[in-house]
């Protein structure tokens, strides 16, 4: 039986899971938003990683086809999005029930009207979301259930009169948490088959796409290929799906890390510091890494590692989290933007407005003042991003500076504007060094954890203390 190793990184904002095989290769990744119930967050991330691992196994089975035929590649991309939608749909059903229940328990006089409006909103957003998953690119946006549904729901509520605002928002706030904290297990095979049916419908209905020059050539090639040949892919997938779905993804050992690690239901020796895990993960992907910067939700860590990927020293923000991901979250709320929109808007700035506040809450007041004075929003956002990176740079300096190579990890590494300033400031302060940013940056902690799990270091190697007596 093949052995797999799991790493779970329970962060303050997101929970990540990574599954690796015996060769340290990542076979599955899962991510979800951290919620009140940590165990559920960890379980969901793990389940996601297991589904992802099954997809990896499936892709491996049809590897040759995927390399040679564009329809296989496209189909596998699409099926993952639709697979996510199938999970979304089930959670949405659960949320709908909860919303109805909440409203039915309301004491408002116009309860019936509220229930009707609620029904309208749900009926309205359901097809929208389906469409964005099946035909759009929602599946690749890394958004979580709560974010997706609340964004659409808020729009729906806003469109109604003031009289419905309070009860409908209250209904949502009361319902989303229990739904989010509920652990639902899905049947992989069932979901894949359902997804295939949705895809069949999608491809059947597709008109021939003509090149209008708005997309790259390969886009039309893939789409037209999949439209004509999706049946071949289906046949091929059906051949393997049974075996893949029933394959035991045997987790031989796991390690939990992250800010919430102490709350994970893991034995004590399976809990590792996120500093060690991030460093180990980053080092595994980029073996020449000597300095790691990790910006997470409420921690920024500057870590120095040796040639083994072992930490030699580290520095973390103390007393204040103004330079971390949460700062961006707060700013996004201030501007009424989603977290994903911050970076791109900051990138469109013409200059960086100077932000003086080192405190998240004060920065909010400062931002309002700046807007009032006519500063452009992208410029303010650029200034805020720069402020975060300046804080990170100070931690790097305190930890001993940047040594070649430099690897940037954590959720914030996905933000293009942060990336821009990190590159700029590292080069300004330390000259030209190799800088690594990986698409899996956010998973580095979980990867490090999984790698520690595989090594099972404390058991495999001789016990410390031996030479002391010698």
């Amino acid at each position: 039986m093949k052995k797999y190793y799991l790493g779970i990184d329970l962060g303050s904002t997101t929970s990540k899971a990574v599954i690796i095989n015996e060769n340290d290769q990542i076979v599955g990744r899962g991510i979800t938003n951290t919620r009140a119930n940590y165990k559920v967050a960890a379980d969901i991330a793990r389940e996601e990683a297991i589904y992802d691992a099954r997809f990896t196994l499936l892709s491996n089975k049809i590897k040759l086809d995927m390399e040679a035929k564009p329809e296989f590649k496209k189909y596998m991309e699409d099926i993952r999005s639709v697979f996510q939608y199938q999970q979304f749909k089930r959670r949405m059903e659960s949320l709908e029930k909860m919303l109805n229940k909440t409203v039915s328990e309301f004491a408002y006089e116009n309860k019936t009207a509220i229930a009707e409006k609620l029904h309208e909103i749900i009926e309205n957003i359901r097809p929208q979301i389906r469409n964005e998953f099946v035909h759009g690119n929602l599946g690749s946006k890394n958004q979580f259930f709560r974010d997706i549904v609340s964004e659409k729901y808020n729009v729906g509520v806003d469109a109604l009169g003031r009289e419905y605002y309070e009860p409908l928002m209250l209904a949502f706030d009361k319902s989303i948490t229990p739904v989010e904290n509920e652990m639902v297990q899905y049947n992989f095979k069932e979901l894949v088959l359902e997804s295939m049916a949705v895809l069949e419908e999608k491809y059947k209905g597709l008109a021939d796409q003509h090149e209008d020059g708005s997309k790259e050539d390969w886009y039309y090639a893939e789409l037209n290929a999949v439209k004509s040949n999706y049946k071949d892919v289906e046949i091929s997938l059906r051949e393997h799906i049974e075996a893949i779905a029933s394959e035991d993804i045997h987790i031989a050992k796991m390690v939990g890390t992250g800010y919430g690690r102490a709350l994970l239901p893991f034995p004590e020796d399976c809990i590792k510091s996120e500093i060690l895990c991030h460093a180990f993960g980053a080092h595994a992907i980029f073996p020449n890494t000597r300095t790691v910067l990790d910006i997470g939700g409420q921690d920024t860590k500057a870590i120095q590692v040796d040639s083994h990927g072992l930490v030699t020293s580290f520095h973390m923000n103390d007393r204040c989290a103004a330079g971390c991901g949460r700062y961006l979250g707060y700013i996004a709320d201030e501007f009424g933007l989603s977290l994903n929109e911050l970076g791109p808007e900051a990138m469109s700035s013409t200059k960086e407005t100077t932000i003086c506040s080192t405190c998240t809450v004060f920065a909010g007041a400062e931002v309002k003042e700046l807007l009032h004075n006519g500063e452009q929003r992208p410029n303010i956002l650029a200034g805020l991003h720069k402020a975060i990176v300046q804080r990170a740079m100070s931690l790097i300096a305190r930890s001993g500076g940047v040594r070649n190579e430099f690897t940037f990890t954590g959720g914030v590494a996905r933000n293009q504007a942060v990336l821009k300033y990190v590159k700029q400031m590292v080069t300004d302060s330390y000259g030209q060094v190799t800088m690594n940013i990986h698409t899996d940056s956010i998973f580095m902690g979980a990867l490090g954890g999984a790698m520690f799990a595989r090594r099972n270091i404390s058991a495999d190697l001789p016990k410390a203390g031996k030479s002391v007596e010698a």
Binding site: Y259, K272, S273, E274, I275, L276, H308, L310, V311, T312, S313, F314, H315, M316, D318, R319, R398, G400, I457, S458, L461, P462, K463, A464, G465, K466, S467, V468
Partner: protein, 429 residues
């Protein structure tokens, strides 16, 4: 059994000494003894004793208040009187305690000072602290000695002469005037001989961490050990007896191969040996200590236990050169060493006591310690390739001790040490 009794004896001795001092302070008015407020670094205990005065150490009172969970309300009181949030929390705690009636750790009221003696000027805050106290106690005589910093890593004859001149022209005449007692050099010499003896013993005590396992914790227990020598008992037979007794007890632990005693009993397994730079946190002293001993970490040397005197390099009070020796003592206190000297001293500790790591506890409101701490850490890391760790807390303000942050940093640090140990072991095999 024997061991239990021995352990108790040194603790009883210490308790008696401290209680005796605060008793004497409580009765100072009746006995007519003069009271001298002064600070631990560069303290002139021997001279104070020569003039039969009783010493009060405001920073010791502050840390005692913190350990008795009283510092928060004292600090609040001082802040109500316009002391800023950034002011050294020892100062605020002391000022707050004074404003709330100046009740000392044993419940007795601490008498007002007759003298405010500032014999170490390396800490600028000390100056401001006594300026504040002078306003509160207008009748107190202020005596200030300028202590030259060891900028060039040595004490030159001119520096010593400069200080002796201050003793002769300023300190001694003013002490004579306040106490009405004539300066008696022979008496001072006798006291200094006892100081030297106590210093020999305490050096031996802190040197026992050479053993594996270390029989003592040189930081968390160390702060208790330095108590008598730092609060005015240097130069007494009592201090010599206490240290002799303590040494005997520790020797017994060495003989039995025992590790240090913690508040939860004996430390079972010594996993990591550390050198710590910086004062401890006093408000959560037990919790802070527990993080270390729970992980099997023992502190084999610390800079903080050297604030009241650096004896590692062989320096002792010398009865044959009384005032010169007092001068050198002032200039030789830990925070008066320049940064490279501190690095050398700590590096020597790491090497001599076979430490696995070096941890800095940085106190934001303490400039004397914090200045240069990061640079020192980097230099030590480069020089000895020893894993370094950095945490931040405060002296006596409970608002600045974040248990979860400190625990998180230290947990990561210990795991880092563990990993390196394992790698090194596997390389040896």
């Amino acid at each position: 059994m024997a061991q239990e009794a021995q352990k108790e004896r040194s603790m009883i001795l210490q308790k008696e000494m401290i209680e005796g001092l605060f008793n004497d302070l409580g009765k100072a008015k009746e006995t007519g003894k003069k009271v001298c407020y002064t600070f631990v670094p560069g303290n002139l205990s021997e001279l104070i004793r020569t003039f039969d005065m009783l010493p009060v150490y405001p920073e010791i009172n502050a840390l005692q208040s913190a350990m008795r969970k009283k510092s928060a309300s004292y600090i609040k009181e001082a802040e109500r009187h316009a002391h800023s949030e950034d002011v050294c929390t020892y100062v605020k705690c002391d000022v707050g305690m004074m404003m709330k009636g100046n009740i000392g750790p044993t419940g007795e009221k601490i008498p007002e000072p007759d003298i405010l003696l500032l014999s170490y000027t390396g800490c600028f805050t000390f100056l401001k602290w006594f300026e504040t106290l002078k306003r509160e106690y207008p009748n107190a005589k202020v005596i200030m000695v300028h202590t030259p910093y060891q900028e060039n890593a040595k004490i030159t004859p001119e520096m010593t002469q400069y200080m002796v001149k201050q003793f002769k022209e300023e300190v001694i005449p003013q002490m004579e005037a306040v106490t009405g007692i004539k300066y008696d050099e022979e008496k001072l010499k006798k006291i200094l001989a006892l100081s030297k003896e106590a210093e020999d013993w305490i050096t031996k005590i802190f040197d026992t961490t050479k053993h594996k396992p270390s029989p003592i914790d040189a930081y968390f227990a160390g702060v208790y050990y330095i108590g008598p020598i730092n609060i005015g008992f240097r130069g007494t037979q009592q201090a010599v007896d206490y240290y002799k007794e303590l040494y005997k007890e520790i020797q017994e632990r060495v003989r039995l191969g025992l590790g240090p005693i913690t508040p939860e009993g004996e430390m079972k397994e010594e996993k990591y040996r550390l050198v710590v730079e910086g004062p401890p946190n006093w408000t959560s002293f037990r919790e802070f200590w527990k993080i270390f001993y729970d992980m099997g970490a023992v502190i084999v040397a610390s800079s903080y236990t050297k604030v009241g005197g650096v004896y590692d390099m062989g320096w002792r009070h010398d009865p044959s050169r009384p005032l010169e020796s007092l001068s050198e003592y002032c200039m030789n206190c830990y925070t008066n060493l320049n940064i490279p000297q501190r690095i050398d001293l700590l590096s020597k500790c790491i090497t001599d006591y076979a430490a696995d790591g070096y941890v800095t506890n940085s106190i934001k409101s303490c400039n004397s310690f914090s200045a240069g701490q990061l640079g020192m850490m980097r230099e030590i890391e480069d020089r000895l390739e020893v894993p370094v760790g950095f945490i931040e807390s405060d002296l006596v303000d409970p608002r600045y001790f974040s248990y979860s942050n400190i625990k998180n940093r230290l947990e990561s640090y210990f795991q880092m040490l563990e990993q390196r140990k394992i790698i090194h072991e596997s390389e040896k095999v």
